[in-house]
Symmetry: C2
Subunit: 338 residues, 2 copies
Amino acid sequence: MTRPVTSTDVARRAGVSQSAVSRAFSQGASIAPETRRKVLEAAAELNYRPNRIPAIMLSGRSRMVGVVVGGLSNPFYASTLECLATSLRAAGLQILLVHVDDALTLDSALDQLLSYRVDAVVTALAIGSQRAARMLSDLAIPVICFNSRLTGPWISTVVSNNHAAGLTAAQVFESCGVTRPAWLAGPVRNAASRARGHGFIAGVRANSARWPDGVLEMRGDDSYESGYDAIRRLLARGERPDGLFSSNDLMACGAMDALRQHGSLNCPDNVVMMGYDNIPQAGWHAYGLTSFDQQVDCLVDAATQLLDAALGPDGGPVSRTRVVDARLVTRRSTARLI
Amino acid sequence: MTRPVTSTDVARRAGVSQSAVSRAFSQGASIAPETRRKVLEAAAELNYRPNRIPAIMLSGRSRMVGVVVGGLSNPFYASTLECLATSLRAAGLQILLVHVDDALTLDSALDQLLSYRVDAVVTALAIGSQRAARMLSDLAIPVICFNSRLTGPWISTVVSNNHAAGLTAAQVFESCGVTRPAWLAGPVRNAASRARGHGFIAGVRANSARWPDGVLEMRGDDSYESGYDAIRRLLARGERPDGLFSSNDLMACGAMDALRQHGSLNCPDNVVMMGYDNIPQAGWHAYGLTSFDQQVDCLVDAATQLLDAALGPDGGPVSRTRVVDARLVTRRSTARLI
DNA sequence: TTGTAGGCGTTATCAT
DNA sequence: ATGATAACGCCTACAA
């Protein structure tokens, strides 16, 4: 294992002082063009790359951001991460990635991130526990949460307009002539899912003339399988909704497959269906699922802006919230005339 | 922005030397239990966390690994990343994540990783250019590639047994009574796809009595859409294969949807189909796609072992290859008796 | 414009 | 067992 080339090595080679090397690589430092040339030449010969680690010690800022993810098997989170990576890179920030299964690992994960002196933390976890919120606040560095209800001194959030989307779903169901609306919720701890459900149920209740029986409610865990199982059980009980709003697309795909498999029911003829996230599979021909697109680009843009602000010179324990409207993407699953 | 708590702060508070604080947090350092207790107490009161940055300077090892990903919208890569994150974390390594769109960004991405002094680089990109290989070798740190044919002094690879799987696919087609086999390749630069194709075509040629016309070949870009389009064009030309081996599951899903949509053909009655990767969607009821499971766990285990070895005391420019057999997962799409 | 010197927060080495 | 001290590689005053 050879020792990496240092600025001192380059200095020796170029016949200048170590500071000159530092200056040659710093934007807008006062250095003679000729000196810079010599330095860059020597650096190229030695294959030198400035080491950012000492700079972290001196400045106290690492330009690394801890990104905490979970459930990458949901294509929505995968594409969010992909988008975030691109955006942070453009902002000159590095990503220190941590994958978390449960709240327990979150604890030690945050510890590790802090010991690497990340400047901030971004998380898209569907965590809502008060304990998690306290842990994040205790970091005393900016935290950006996606679709979470967490609040605290250092915590900012970027959320999709979940409640409004729920209301919209009810309206779409009305225009499709749905008579028996159903709601497939995500896990209780998922704040975004709760908001979507509240919006949808409010929309249905507001139209009690049409829907006197209210909403048929089910619960899954945001996975394909849980959507499939929920519908299978529902059909086994003899229930027959003709409109289903699912808290996310994965469950909606499972639900649609269960309708076909266990009830020979198809969308939109027998059941009108809507999902959330607009994952690629929603657009696959086997599904053609109408869905709310969270506009990941906008969410991530907002997050990056919050981050930039929080990492700026006047960075303190701010706490802001940015709301991004979901965009309805209409497909076959709601293509039904009254 | 308050200055982070340092070991000196803790030392002052606990009434001991700074070295004592360092020892209290180091495994197996010689320190009196009473002293350690005092230190840990003071540390807890001040909410102190050891800073790993200086340790990086001293040891020259950051315990950070650069992970370069691309195409997270393919569920296979997403789950690989998820698995890798878990495995590296267990090995006490941090992930510095970089998302790369094209070979150009790879260049600067590697630069950044190096300036943060990552100990190694892991990549699952389907890159095969000689230029990329040179760039990776030039890093002069261990590089682990997934499913790549890249070679070089510092480069180790973990590959699925692609060629053998291709042969197996041909055998399965034989036992299903396929008369007109087709191969849907991925992009030319994808070495894994090429190996799968070679294996499959070899398997078909070896049985020229049964298949005198050989293999009908198509090409996609590994995306769902490209699989859909390839089959749509094929059907439009009047071709009618009755067995399709796709280089990956995403394209196979697209192909299956195109068969249904544009030819009213279904699997396995009209066409027997096999894919590769065993992504979750292959198991969805709408597809029921027989697929080769790359056994991500094993691939990642192998990668972590290679990494551990390369980061060990005798780490040099080694170059090893580990092959993991793909596991055939049989589903509806090949459930056809002769 | 250039070089010298001090310091960032740890760990490791050496006395005590 | 403990405290003082020297690194690690770079940036940044400050002096020349």
